[in-house]
Amino acid sequence: MKATTEAVYLPVLFLTVTLLGGLRVADRLTFVPPPLFSLVLGVMVFGVLVRGRVLAADSLMSASRTSLENLSGFIVILSTFFAATQVFNLVTPESGLPFLLFNVFLFVLLVNTLAGAHDRVSVLRSMGVIVGAAFILKFIVLGAISEPGDTMLKRVLFALLEGVTLGTLTQPRLHPVAGYLAFATLVLFLVGLAMLPSRSSSVALVKSQE
């Protein structure tokens, strides 16, 4: 991996995700720190990335590297963790029943990915599906429910969720910019994951008996 990518591009990219993940745009800007459960999910993602060979920790920190190289590798590891945490802060609703349901949904998906995926491509695909699904649920489905007025999507969802009080599902109204900003943040995160130093499957060289 090139020094520029490891020391500059990756930390800047992941720190940008960290910054934008907690940004909430309304009539005023607020920066929301991650809830505790996002930290748990961030640790799980980190496990998924290492297990799925998306992030080769020994390519970033090892005894064969110099102190400076290890330090920049440590910054990449730390910024990846914070970015993962903030991504879950971003795609999780702020409060109420949706907050609980989303966290359970994300937890189950990550446990499934941790147990099932062992190669880089499938882990990257899984990460895309997890954050993409959460984005659609929060910014499109819940966003439509929380919009004032009577929209087509709201009527359909109301029919589907008959029996559930919509009051428990509605969230503060999202600013029109919020969805676009969240989408850009998630794309940045996925690009950053794809740029991480990976480890290919180990190959044993066996001497021919001929």
Binding site: A3, T4, A7, V8, V12, T30, F31, P33, E69
Partner: protein, 168 residues
């Protein structure tokens, strides 16, 4: 080549640490406008300056009891809300706008209290004294206490003799 690699890593390290510090600062100080971001950053290195012309205009309007206009000028003088003295005058202006012989405007007092607390938080050591002979309260703590007292409902609020009290 080795030197170049080392320079890039050092540069990246400095960049990442500065960026991380900036993010932590944003999350702690919660600025809401770009002016507050730039003002906060310049204040943190001691380079923040208010618009003196706008401040003098505000002071003139304040002394002529034109408080809405005075607040607009003070806000223009200190768009980032980083100057304790300007915040004190904004709080005082809200106090004078909201003060009434029979009752006071709670909304004005609430805003005044916010600015008084901000002024105290910004002042060095939390102590702010403004030497202005036109004011009856020179200390930010006194102003804050007066505003907080105005917001509390107490038996003395129903004392008819209150109509003879003086505005500070």
């Amino acid at each position: 080549m080795w030197m170049q690699d080392r320079s890039v890593r050092v540069l990246g390290l400095v960049l990442a640490l500065c960026y991380a510090a900036f993010i932590v600062w944003l999350y702690v100080s919660q600025p809401q406008t770009l002016a507050e971001v730039t003002g906060g950053l310049t204040a943190s290195v001691g380079a923040y300056r208010i618009n003196q012309q706008a401040f003098d205009d505000g002071l003139g309007l304040f002394r002529r009891e034109q408080h809405d206009a005075a607040r607009a000028a003070f806000e223009r003088a200190d768009p980032a809300g980083q100057d304790a003295r300007t915040q004190f005058y904004i709080a005082y202006s809200y106090y004078r706008s909201g003060w009434g012989r029979v009752y006071q405007d709670n909304e004005m007092f609430k805003k005044g209290l916010e600015h008084a607390e901000k002024a105290i938080a910004l002042a060095s050591g939390g102590r702010l004294v403004v030497d202005d002979p036109g004011l009856a309260m020179h200390n930010a703590d006194e102003l804050r206490a007066e505003l907080a007292e105005g917001l509390r409902v107490e038996p003395s609020d129903f004392n008819p003799m209150r109509v003879f009290r003086q505005r500070k």
